[in-house]
């Protein structure tokens, strides 16, 4: 347990003390919640504006979780590799799995903090959700899938991109581009058919739509992602990415040459 606690504590402290991490994961999504809440909804009918604000808040919350997993986690791994910490750890009687669990728990805790701040700002801006308790639980479940899928992609980036700068740029690039083309920054209905297909397959976009659907219904989500096949695909791909990332991280980052 103490090894997990050590990795957890180090990860979360480093996230909280890195300005770039705070900017991309907390400040940037909050700025877009503010812009989305007051600029992008200006032409919309008054009665749906709070729900559009709600959808923007959820999308930015998902973006924060994505950045935390896809950019911050690999940057953290690459930094540890670059500065020799992984070599040091390999010389110690430490289990790579415990290090991994500690890192992921640190990431999850930091992601929850970022999510709470984004939601608080969204609610303060007038975001509303029309949902039941079950809808909230469903949304939380889908947000956990976002963390899983993002962490999986982040582990892959951190495993293959050796340097911090490269890992950050790759992670931010993947997060921004995939968000843009999968309808997280715009209504699903505005996407061309090919990108609508991608939005249904890409687990983070699909989980985002599912959370929005669970909290606000089909009108805002753009389609019904809560079908058995769609949920199965989202869960399977999220878990697959996490497992793949874990295996490759444990084997390649901790491999003795």
């Amino acid at each position: 347990m103490s090894q997990i606690a050590a990795a957890f504590s180090k990860t979360i402290k480093e996230f909280l003390r890195e300005r770039a991490v705070l900017f991309w994961t907390i400040a940037w999504p909050i700025v877009w919640v503010l812009i989305g809440s007051f600029v992008f909804v200006s032409g919309a009918p008054q009665q749906i504006v709070p729900y559009l604000r709600g959808a923007t808040t959820i999308a930015m919350l998902v973006f924060a979780l994505m950045i935390a997993g896809i950019a911050n986690l690999p940057a953290n791994i690459a930094a540890d590799r670059e500065n020799g910490l992984l070599a040091k750890l390999m010389s110690m009687p430490i289990s790579p799995r415990k290090d991994f669990v500690g890192r992921i728990l640190g990431l999850a805790a930091f992601s929850c903090l970022a999510a709470a701040l984004v939601i608080a700002v969204g609610l303060a801006c007038g975001a509303r959700f029309s949902t039941t308790d079950i809808g909230v639980l469903q949304a939380v479940g889908f947000l956990l899938l976002v963390i899983c899928a993002s962490a999986g992609i982040g582990l892959l980036v951190g495993t293959f991109i050796k340097h911090v700068h490269g890992a950050v740029m790759t992670g931010v690039g993947i997060a921004v581009v995939t968000s843009a083309v999968s309808g997280m920054f715009m209504p699903y209905s505005a996407l061309p058919p090919m990108l609508q297909q991608f939005a249904r397959v890409y687990p983070i976009a699909s989980a985002n739509s599912s959370a929005i659907y669970a909290l606000m219904g089909e009108e805002i989500a753009g389609y019904n992602p809560l079908t058995v096949s769609q949920i199965s695909l989202t869960v399977a791909l999220s878990v697959f990415l996490l497992i793949l990332g874990t295996i490759l991280y444990s084997r390649r980052c901790w491999r003795t040459e």
Partner: protein
Amino acid sequence: MNAIRVENLTKRYGANEVLKGVNLKVDEGEFYALMGPNGSGKTTLASIIASVRIPTSGSVDIYGRKSWQAKEWIGYVPQENFSSPKLTGRENLMYFARLLGYSGSQAESLVNEMLGRIGLSADADKRVGKYSGGMRKRLEVATALFPGVRILILDEPTTGLDPSARRKFLGLVEEVKDKQTTIFLITHLGSDAELASRVGLIDSGEIIAEGEPEALKRMHGLGDVITVETAVKSDKVADVLRNFSDEKRLLETEAGYRIYCKHGDKVLPEAVRNLDQIGGKVTRIEVAKPSLEDVFFKLTEKTVAEVS
């Protein structure tokens, strides 16, 4: 008992053979320095002993166990600064203490003790990013000195430190280590290696000489060294100096030259006269005892710095 026993160790990366059948024994409590230029294989050897790399063939035993079964006895300090600059000195040590399985309260008291031993108590709550190079290295050595560690492997720990900080640092290592702790120091600096009780010289993946520092110098018949610094380096100056050197051996350094002779004091005045005659402007000249770098040069015709 041998703390470290390396037998016929080889390491290949594709066609490049980095270690060529290295044999090495280090006794318990010994301070052993492995000195050689960059690319000579010394870091690879250290990382194999620390179980960070695996050898192509051969074996490494730590107190009779295979190295990967003896990780709890090894304190490895890689060349890079691996401590987290975002954490304080105390937090960094707590991280390693917790990784080693100490509970929160045990770790806290142990870390306080370690901080005292390495002289960082007053700066313990500063972020490591604000530490000087020497402070950071001391902290990193502390991560390798937790109870139970029997072999301390230091890979070029003084790189980037000025000469006085280097000596202070190595003095501290000697001071803080347990009497039974074995030190295995990797360096390309003769001045660091001089502090060890035994030195191995490594070149191109092979250990070419081994022994106590003074014995190594005696064994290779190096008498005195004349160090000459000139305003301008030229072939004429080099030729004049070479004539005064035994076996016509001349080592070009950053600021001038080094020549080797049995009785430096007798040769010095004539060397200065001859340099004057050809107009070679000498800025500094002195007779000194040979260093381990000179031994390395005699054996390989290469300087440690030249290859580094």
